[in-house]
Amino acid sequence: MTHAAAAAELPAAERQIKLLSLLEQDCGSCHGLTMTGGLGPALLPKTLDDKPDDFLVDTILYGRPGTPMPPWAFEITPDEAKWLIGRLRSWRTDG
């Protein structure tokens, strides 16, 4: 068990599992189970390449009004959003 003091950057191991499952199942319902896109755009290394972290973190936390992208701040923290972006940037579609 990691304690709160150490939790500033990386989510704890169990939270990571929870976040990855959220990414696959819930984000996946719009972005595709393997992030190759659906109603929402693909979230693959090459599609995110030219977009800064802060911009993408904001998108995840606050959504994009006027588009189907919803805000997730109610259950994802800024650090966790940043961690998810990191995972997406090193995502491999072949599993």
């Binding site: 696959e24 199942q25 819930d26 996946g28 319902s29 719009c30 595709g32 189970l33 393997t34 190759t36 896109g37 659906g38 109603l39 959504g63 006027g66 588009t67 189907p68 919803p70 805000p71 259950e75």
Partner: protein, 395 residues
């Protein structure tokens, strides 16, 4: 033939990638069979709705997130539309994958023609519709979705339209297209309706095949096309049904596929609200609303139209509510468990099958007593499809 498996053993076997429960292949009808999509595994289970058990598992279908399927008119074959652009033909009777083609990079759904000869698939990438020979899966027509402004975009809400062919909407450009399939399936005749509204994200055809409705994300409202009178054009219904209220964010797009028709009423999930709209299908006016637990995803009518079952978006997707149609009130709240993704009724409505993704099971409920009758193990189940769909327009 009928082997008794203790539940734990059945669960263990079903957890194996290739199921050892292999009872497919005997001589029987398919009228009481169905398929359950195992989303993460690229597999479908063949289920028997009379004995309420899985018969066998068919694997190798690719990425099945958001997958849907249609049945051949004899109820023997299923055409499964995968997110990865795969189109798979599954023999429900023998439990085998007959053929699989990868027809696009990123697909969303499909439909089968009235005569059962053609299967059409709608694609996000490259945006358009492709039409296949249902027997061979040979491609007959390729219709790119190039909008009036020259842009190519995603296709959504593809349905079969009796007497015409297929109807669908262009998400990015806001258009509805009718593809008339004449004698020569390689040369469909297109009729295009532009400026129908912002971001149509799904479509449905009424059970009689007369109207096509496209739900709009970018506006409060629904675009409606009378397929018997194409020259009258598209009109807007339910305009501004949420006026003056700030809509809530949407965590899962609600589906129109399950727009339930109960007599002359349709029960429509409201986008971004904790409500189901009640619409009179003669006048296409809203005649009421039913307050529900959270944002609805599917509203599914029991075949007799007396009940409508509703499931909900994340983070409230552990719940199912039942609306009593005559009184338009919620009469039952069920808690099947985390991530209820889909509800399917037995052909005459005595049972409801509910997929519960995160507890890896499909639950079967009695629709009169609401008792849970059975739980079948399934790996990350999503859609449930029974062969009775073979004879329904829009399924």
């Amino acid at each position: 033939m009928v082997k008794f498996l203790p539940f734990a053993v059945a669960a263990l076997i079903a957890a194996l990638p290739v199921s050892a429960v292999a009872e497919c292949g005997g001589l029987r009808g398919t009228g009481d069979l169905g398929l359950v999509i195992e989303r993460a595994d690229g597999a479908v289970q063949v289920v028997d709705t009379t004995r309420r058990r899985a018969l066998c598992t068919v694997t190798g279908l690719g990425d099945l997130s958001h997958a849907s399927l249609v049945f051949s008119r004899d109820g023997r074959f299923a055409y499964v539309f995968g997110r990865d652009g795969g189109l798979s033909k599954v023999d429900v009777l023998t439990g085998t994958l007959v053929k699989r083609v990868t027809q696009a990079g990123n697909a969303i759904g499909g439909a089968i023609s009235q005569d059962g000869r053609l299967v059409a698939v709608s694609n996000y990438e490259p945006g358009g519709v492709r039409v296949f020979d249902a027997a061979t899966l040979e491609m007959l027509a390729d219709i790119p979705a190039i909008a009036a402004d020259g842009s190519r975009g995603k296709v959504v809400g593809l349905v079969d339209a009796p007497g015409l062919g297929f109807v669908y909407a262009l998400y990015d450009a806001g258009e509805i297209w009718v593809a008339e399939m004449g004698k020569d399936a390689t040369a469909p005749k297109l009729t295009k309706f532009t400026g129908i509204g912002r971001l149509p994200y799904d479509g449905m055809v009424t059970p009689d095949g007369r109207y096509y409705a496209a739900a709009l994300f970018g506006e409060d409202g629904v675009a409606l096309l009378d397929l018997w009178n194409l020259d009258k054009g598209v009109r807007r219904i339910l305009d501004g049904y949420g006026k003056g209220e700030q809509p809530l964010p949407v965590y899962k797009m609600p589906h129109l596929g399950g727009w339930s028709t109960a007599g002359r009423l349709a029960f429509v999930p409201a986008v971004g609200r904790h409500e189901v709209l009640v619409v009179d299908q003669k006048t296409w006016e809203e005649v009421g609303r039913v307050a529900v637990y959270a944002q609805p995803v599917f509203t599914t009518a029991r075949p007799d139209g007396r009940q409508v079952w509703v499931n909900f978006a994340h983070p409230h997707n552990d719940t199912v509510q039942v609306i009593d149609v005559p009184t338009r009130t919620v009469v039952q709240t069920l808690k099947p468990g985390p991530a209820v993704l889909h509800i399917e009724f037995s052909p005459r409505g005595e049972h409801a099958w509910v997929s519960v993704r995160d507890s890896d099971e499909v639950q079967v409920y009695d629709t009169r007593s609401f008792d849970k009758l059975a739980s079948l193990p399934a790996r990350k189940p999503s859609g449930i499809f029974f062969t009775a769909r073979a004879n329904r327009v829009g399924y």
